[in-house]
Symmetry: C2
DNA sequence: CTGTTAGCGCATTCAA
DNA sequence: TTGAATGCGCTAACAG
């Protein structure tokens, strides 16, 4: 194992001081051409690279940004990460990814770790448990310590920082309104418990669309899925109603896919007997039969925007920094699981 | 923005030396109980935490491991990452993730960056372009520099290091043999170009199974997908043959899902007219209709093993370290896309 | 029991 | 044009 080459070693080699070498490698005008050339050639030959750890300590920054997401196995988050990576790398930053596993405690630990000089700024999508618990002191501490923070997707109103979010209300509205437009009379929603903000907002859009269409809200058709129990069993109840739905809006891809499977098992024709619409960035939608109509969420774009905001804040020099909230719009992707719109 | 508290500040506060503070906080027996108590209380009150950057420089290590994967949007890789995270965190390590985007150049850049003191060891799945180019000097340099390396999934024979791989040959064999056992007479394989090692190995298993079953290999039934062109168009040719297959083994989930969709479009009944079997760790398989039978790949387990090997090597003290190659076995998950095995 | 010194690798200010 | 000194924050060997 060959030892890494350092300024000190080069200095010894040429019998000059460390600072001379340092300046020579930066092509400083203070150093004579001849010395510079020789030192630079030597350094190049031995692949000299300044030690990152030393630079980090010296500069008090790491050129790294941290990401904390609930789960990496969700396709949406991988799209976001890809978007962040793109922008970060383009600006010479690296990316450190942590998972909170939707646990409050892990989120706090990760945040503490990252805040301790490891990264120059942090991008977070809040853990479910934190949303439920409503304890946000760790984020407040972070901001008090002057560490740039961007929240995306699952954000917190009371925290003052940059935010990037999906227009969930509008997405829920678009989805529901489309089901109305294709003629559905009884539209159910498969959503999350109240405390998951995105589920709550998509439900709000659903309600708006119904009232906008002069349709009554039937609480029986609002099903909040508890993921700690079997999801399929909960959804089955929808199909067992005396007056079952003819349209389903699911706030994510998995619920939609499961609903489709159950409909198939119940010998319902999709989309003739029932239309199903999901909400997602996922892969499943494209490969199911019939393929799934969805509300597209543009995770890649969300990631890029988040990284841009964060880097702006990190490199901001002046006094008055203004936080922003970017709303990323959704749009419908119509495939085979919803009836065609009948245009007159 | 409040300033971070350091040993120096505490020292000034108590008018003692920095090293006294350092020792007090480590509860050293060299320091009097009284001083220790006061200093510890003060430190606790101000949430003192040793600065990571300083520790990194001092200890010449970062307690971080690096991962380079081709793409984070592949479900298999997210499972691997989750496995790595688990083991890393359990041992007090953090994880830094980079994507090579299957590009040789990005892989080299990432490796250089990580090798430069940023991490204590690296886990890699090789980029496609690197496999094609067969230029592995960056890995050799890494090892010469004494930085622990673990390769997983897409590994390189000529690089001497720890490796974790799927038993791809056996997986291909299992899949093909099962298709034979359920009565398929013409079994096609949807695989990758030759240079993608895992595709090559699964093809090898396919061939073994055929010859073991005294079935002739029909080169027409071996289709190497070129992902730069439209995948569906290539697979369609399989169904347009004069003597089309009655069984398909796809080396990944996407090819399998696309094949299913085409079969559906061609009004073929799955599994009655044609059985389809995939290879994966993905989500799609469960949610298609019919759900897809697959060879399970156990990415989570692969990640854990990789991290264990890496941490072992990192923390290994003695002289003679022995590299290992761990083979993770696959197994069949039988769902609805393959005919039932007819047991007499 | 407490403090001084040195060093991790680098950049920078100031002195020669 | 070069070098010495300082500091980033921390630890540890050694001295008092």
């Amino acid at each position: 194992m060959k030892q890494k080459i350092t300024l000190k070693k080069i200095a010894k080699e040429f019998d000059v001081s460390i600072s001379t070498v340092s300046k020579a490698l930066k092509d400083s005008h203070e150093i004579s051409e001849e010395v510079k050339e020789r030192i630079q050639a030597f350094a190049k030959f031995y692949h000299y690279k300044p030690n990152s750890l030393a630079l980090n300590l010296r500069n008090q920054k790491t050129k790294t940004i941290g990401i904390i997401i609930p789960q990496i196995v969700h396709h949406f988050f991988t799209k976001v990460i890809s978007g962040i990576e793109l922008v970060a790398n383009k600006n010479g930053y690296n990316v450190m990814i942590c998972m909170s596993m939707d646990s409050y405690e892990k989120e706090v630990l990760n945040l503490d770790m990252l805040a301790n000089g490891v990264v120059d700024g942090i991008i977070v999508s809040v853990a479910k448990e934190t949303e439920e618990k409503k304890d946000f002191t760790h984020f407040k501490d972070l901001i008090n310590n002057g560490i740039p923070l961007v929240l995306f997707d699952r954000v917190i109103d009371e925290i003052k920082c940059n935010k990037v979010l999906t227009n969930d209300i509008d997405g829920g509205y678009l989805a529901t309104k489309h089901l109305v437009n294709i003629g559905c009379k009884r539209i159910a929603i498969l959503t999350t418990p109240e405390f998951v903000t995105v589920g709550k907002l998509r439900l709000e859009g659903y309600k708006n669309a119904l009232s906008n269409s002069s349709m009554d809200l039937d609480e029986e058709l609002v099903m909040q899925i508890n993921e700690e129990h079997d999801i399929a069993n909960q959804i089955k109840k929808l199909f067992a109603m005396k007056n079952p739905p003819d349209g389903i809006f699911a706030v994510n891809e998995i619920y939609a896919a499961i609903a489709m499977k159950i409909a198939n098992k119940n010998n319902l024709k999709i989309p003739d007997d029932i239309s199903i619409l999901g909400f997602t960035d996922g892969l499943i939608s494209q490969y199911t039969t019939p393929s799934l109509s969805t509300v597209a969420q543009h995770g890649y774009h969300i990631g890029q925007k988040s990284a841009e905001l964060l880097l702006n804040e990190i490199e901001f020099q002046d006094t008055e920094y203004q936080y922003q909230t970017k709303i990323i719009e959704t749009n419908l992707i119509l495939r085979e699981s919803t009836k065609k719109l009948n245009l007159h």
